[in-house]
Amino acid sequence: MIRQLFRFKGGIHPPQHKDRSTRSPIQAAWLPKQLILPLHQHIGESGEPIVAVGDHVLKGQKIARASGYVSASVHASSSGTITAIEELPIPHPSGLSASCIVIDTDGEDRWIEHGPEDIPYTEMDVSHLRNLIRTSGIVGLGGAGFPSSIKLNPAGSKIDTLILNGVECEPYITCDDMLMRERPENIIAGAKIMRHALNARQCLIAIEDNKPEAYTAMIEACKDEDIEVVQVPTLYPQGSEKQLIKVLTGKECPSNGLPFQIGIVVHNVGTAAAVHNAINLGEPLISRIVTVTGDGVAEPCNLEVLLGTPMQALLDQCGGLNSDVDRIIMGGPMMGFAMHSTEIPVIKTTNCILAATESNVTAPSDVMPCIRCGACADVCPVDLLPQQLQWYARSKEFERAQEHNLFDCIECGCCAYVCPSNIPLVHYYRYAKTEIWAQEREKEKADIARQRHEFRQSRIEREKAEKAARLAKKKAAVKKPADGEKDDKQAAIQAALDRAKAKKEAQGVEPKNIENMTPAQQKQIDDANARRQQTDTSEQES
């Protein structure tokens, strides 16, 4: 049976450059001297460290636990000593730092005791199965890094289809391709576990037709399985979850909904293999396959890398960095982020390190004004109007941008790829998105501030009113029939003045609790008073 395929609108065919990294089989990366494991390698809350500096840890030992529903734990990827828990640069477009656990490896690479559970997964409680996957720290390995256990929880929806995403539509990246060629049985074993957890009716594996070897390998491995391997015509960005769903099923996932709402779950093939490791072998997620490629390195290849390995180590293993390298991209050339240094560690979502020379990437050429040619709208897979969006983003009309569905943009870069005016469209959208988020945060903060301000104002009002009431009462009480009102008033004023003076004193201009003070404290206060005198006099002078 040939499955009917659908097509999403738009898309492009950028040059592939995949063959250069598929010439040699997957090799194990060298064990680095130091591993840097960020606590935030996924979407959601950062992990929470459960080790301390100086602890000795074993390979596979959990060193940070998930700190919320959408979060993931982190495991030591080799044995060694924790030497620091500090802020270090992590893979992020900003080049900023975040909390990391640093392990100095001891070279023994000794595993913690581990192994599969005693009962087979088919007999396990599904929620226990999910929990095992969760504590193994598995997140989507395709690039987004969403905690996988959540995506294996249908939350009451009936799941019809489990899709394994082996599309890998970005140029240069071949880690899934190589995984499918070399370890199809792991993927299938993982797929069966996932399918069991979801109770899905059918399971599909989608592979683009530019990966015939992977396709054959998967077909071969699926011979006796109830899993369908589907070859889809190459088109970028087909690997994007919602686009792939459309291609395979013709269904459109609602804009701000999730696929399971339409009975579909998509997982990356690499994630499936990781699930297999976790359940059938009891190994948490401590390594992944990374494509190291680009003209910036001498020998592009795929490496099985321990998480936390600095990128520099991998570049060295691949023959070192050429001097004409222009940028180091984590991910592919269409959606990847340029790194600020090579000392940044590999994390769970690092599928590719592209050491690009200027000829690999497009040299920046002059940006011209938008000529409204509409080429961008023609290729946008989400059917947005990129030229309008960039216009609104540029003029900071964020509301209009949102009205034009800015947040449906998947940042695939198709629009910028075809734009004849070479406008950095995606950069504009990212700018606008982060700016809008910041504004929302600020708005929230402003609302709180307004409330607190209004509360304070009403409190002051109330206090004033109470005071006035008290005063009036007093006044009535001290009122003597003989004395004139004038005296009365004067007395009140005097009283108020006295009170004010007393209050001022009470307010700590002259603190009275000077007993039990250390000499240092006394000196501090004296200093403070001296400073205050100074400011007072200087104020009088000015």
Binding site: E397, E399, T434, A438, A446, D447, I448, Q507, G508, R532
Partner: protein
């Protein structure tokens, strides 16, 4: 020629009527203007605009007594939003009132604080915690960065520090301008 002129006039009239109709038909009955303006202002309550707080400034704008470019903490974003709301053209921030600075929070040097409560009385949003003669601290998330507490402190123990940037709050910078855009 005459027909053309007549036709164009007719078209103009029709569109004019259409617009007028739309304006009446789709008129939004919303919050009173002051609240809408107040919602845009950053609520720092710093008084740099020359009014005792954001709400009074909002009232002044609504009454056409103040320009929309007098709020330094809000900066360009606020000016654009106000311009949008009021159908005016955005204008640059009035240099007289100050300039847009990175967001700050106040911190109290707890060693030096003498517990005078003067800052508490100054803080417009009750972001300072403490009682008389006790050390004070600032609730960082609630501090608006208005700097009003800095001046009254008798021992100068309040510092304004920029909010630290982290990966969760980082913003993509505005794309580099080509000279074509810079002149817009």
């Amino acid at each position: 020629m005459l027909t053309a002129v007549l036709a164009l006039t007719a078209i103009a009239i029709i569109f004019g009527l259409l617009l007028g109709f739309a304006a009446v038909r789709f008129k939004v009955e919303g919050d009173p203007l002051v609240d809408q303006i107040d919602a845009i202002l950053p609520q720092t309550q710093c008084g740099q605009c020359g009014y005792p707080g954001c709400k009074p400034y909002a009232t002044a704008i609504a009454n056409n007594e103040a320009d929309i470019n007098r709020c330094p903490p809000g900066g360009e974003t606020t000016i654009i939003a106000l311009a949008d709301l009021l159908g005016k053209d955005p204008i640059p921030l009035d240099a007289e009132v100050g300039e847009e600075k990175p967001k700050m929070v106040a911190i109290i040097d707890e060693e030096t604080c003498i517990g005078c409560t003067l800052c508490i009385q100054a803080c417009p949003v009750d972001a300072i915690l403490g009682a008389a003669k006790q050390m004070h601290t600032i609730i960082e998330v609630e501090c608006t960065g208005c700097e009003l507490c800095v001046e009254p402190c008798p021992v100068d123990c309040i510092d304004m520090v920029p909010i630290k940037e982290d990966i969760f709050h980082w913003k993509w910078p505005y794309p580099e301008q080509t000279d074509e855009e810079a002149k817009l």
